[in-house]
Amino acid sequence: MTFISVEFYLLLAIVAAVYFIVPLKFRWFILLLGSLAFYVFQGIEMLPLMLLSSFVGWLFGLCMGKVYERDPKQKKKAKLFSGIAIVFLIGMLAFVKSSRYMPESVASKIIVPIGISYYTFSIVSYLIDVYRRKYQAEPNFLKFTLFTAYFPKVLQGPIARYDKLMPQLAEGHKFEYGRFCFGLQLMLWGFFKKLVIADRLSIFTNTVFLDAANMSGSVILVAAIFATLELYCDFSACMDLASGMSQIFGIELEQNFDHPFFSKSAAEFWRRWHITLGAWFKDYVYMPIVTSPRMAKLLQMVKKHFGTRCGKSVMAFVPLSVVWVLTGVWHGTGRAYVVWGIYWGAMIIISQIFAPEIKKLNAFLHINVESESWKIFQMVRTFALFSIGRMITIPNSLSTTALMFRKIFLDFRPWQLVDESLYTFGLDRKNFLLALFLFFILWSVSMLQEKGSLRLRISEYNVVFRWMIYYIAIIAIIVLGIYGPGYDASSFVYIGY
C-alpha cells in the first residue's frame, strides 16, 4: 500500500472522518491507530521491529530523563544510555541494509521494516536532543510510537524532529475548511508530479538504462536529464502528498524541498534538496565534529606547521568527508553509493578550499557574478552535476556507469536528438513532446512558488477561475496519468532508502 493506491485513500478517509468526530483529547490516539493499521497493511511482520525501535528510543530517553531529574549534571550516565540505544538502533539499520551482501537464503528471511531509515534517524535525533537537554523525555510510550510511525511521514520522510512534530500530533486539531482545501490542493499537485510527470519519464529512463550497453551516448544523455527530473518529481510529489494529508489533520510537516534546481552551487543545492536529511547530518554529525576539542587541537597543530590556509582546508575536509560518505551509505550499501557520496563531498570541499582561487579566476575572466546570465549558467551547472550523480547510482554498478560516460563522450550521435530516434524508447512522439511541455509547466509552477505561496494566490481568485484550475488538474491526472496494472502506480524511488 503506497500513497498512490485506492486502499491507502480509504484508510486516510476513515482516519480523517474518525479523527474529526472523536473529542479533541483523543485525536492523537486515532492517528496512532491509523499509523499502526497502515503498518499492518504494509506487512504485519514489520510491525514488531518498528515497535522495538520505538520502545528502545522511548525507554532509553526516559532513563536519561530520570537521570537528569535526580542530578542535572549526570551527563556521563545519560551519555551511556543514549549511546547504548543509538548503537542498537543504528546497528539494526545497518544489519537490514547490509542484507544484500548476505547469502540469498539468509537475506530472504530478513524483514526490512518500511521507512526504517527515516524513523531510525528521527529516534536517534530524539535521543541526542534529550541527552543535550534540549527538551524533556516523552513519558507516554504510545505517543512516542505515534511520533515514530505517523503514517504520512513514515514511508519517505521528512525525517521528523520530536520537538517540532510531537506537540502537533498530541494536540487535537479542529476541522478547518480552508486548511482542508489547501491540503487537497497540495496533494493534487503531488499526484500530478508523480502520475503525470515522474511515471511518464520512468518509462523512457527504464527502457534506456536497462539496456544501456546498446544505447548511444545521446540517448543516455537525454535519459540522464529525464532521470533527474523524474527523481525530483517522484520524491517531491511524495513530500507534497505527505504534507497535504497532514495539513488536513492540522499538522505541518517540515519542508523537505525548496526548489533545489534554482540553486547556484552544490552546497546550496543540498540545503534545498532533502532538507531534513541534510539538517540531520549537520546537527548530529557535522557540527559535533567541527566543535570537537580534537578538531580544535588538530587545527592549531596544522596552523603551527603549515599555516592558516591549511588549517581552514582541514576544517573543510574532515567533517564534510565524514558527512558525505555517511550520506552515501544512508542512500544505499553498494559501492556506487559510497562513490556518489564522495563525488558530492569532493565537489563541496573543493569549492570551499579553493574559493579564493575561484573568485580570482572569475575576476580574471571578467565574469560578472551578479549578472542573470551567470546565475542561469550556475543553475544549469547544478542540474548537470546532479544528473552526473544520478548516473552513478542508477545502474548500481560502477562499470555500467563508466560505460555510460564512455558512450556520452565517444558514441554521441547528435542527429538522434532531432530525428525520430528518441520516440522509440517507450514514449511515442506524442508522449515525448508532452513530457517536454510538462517540464515547462513544472518550471512555471516552481517559478510562481518561488515568488510566494501559489495556493494563497489561487484562493484569492474568483470561484469560477479557481475551480477551472482544479478541474483541469484533476482531468489532467485522470487522462494523462500513467497507471500500471491494477491502477497502482510505480513505487516511489525514495521508499527504497
Binding site: 549537520k282 557540527m287 567541527v290 563541496i348
Partner: protein
Amino acid sequence: MEEKIYELLSEEFPAIDFKGSDTLVDDGILDSLTITGIIATLTMEFGITIPYEEIIEENFNSIAGLAKMVEKLSNK
C-alpha cells in the same frame, strides 16, 4: 576584541558586511559552511575550542556576540 574580530572576519569573508546586521544567522547571511569557517578562524587565532553548546544564534548573530563568546572561552 570586537574590532579585532571584525578585522579578522572582514578579511576572511570580504563579501559579508559583519557590521551591517545584528541578525547574521537569522537573516541567512551566515550559512553552516560560513559558520564553520568562522569557527576555524577563531579557533586558530585565539587558540580556543568552541564547544557545540556555544553554536547558538545569539553568539553568531553579531560581532558583539562573537566577541563575548571568544572572551568567555579565552578565560576558561
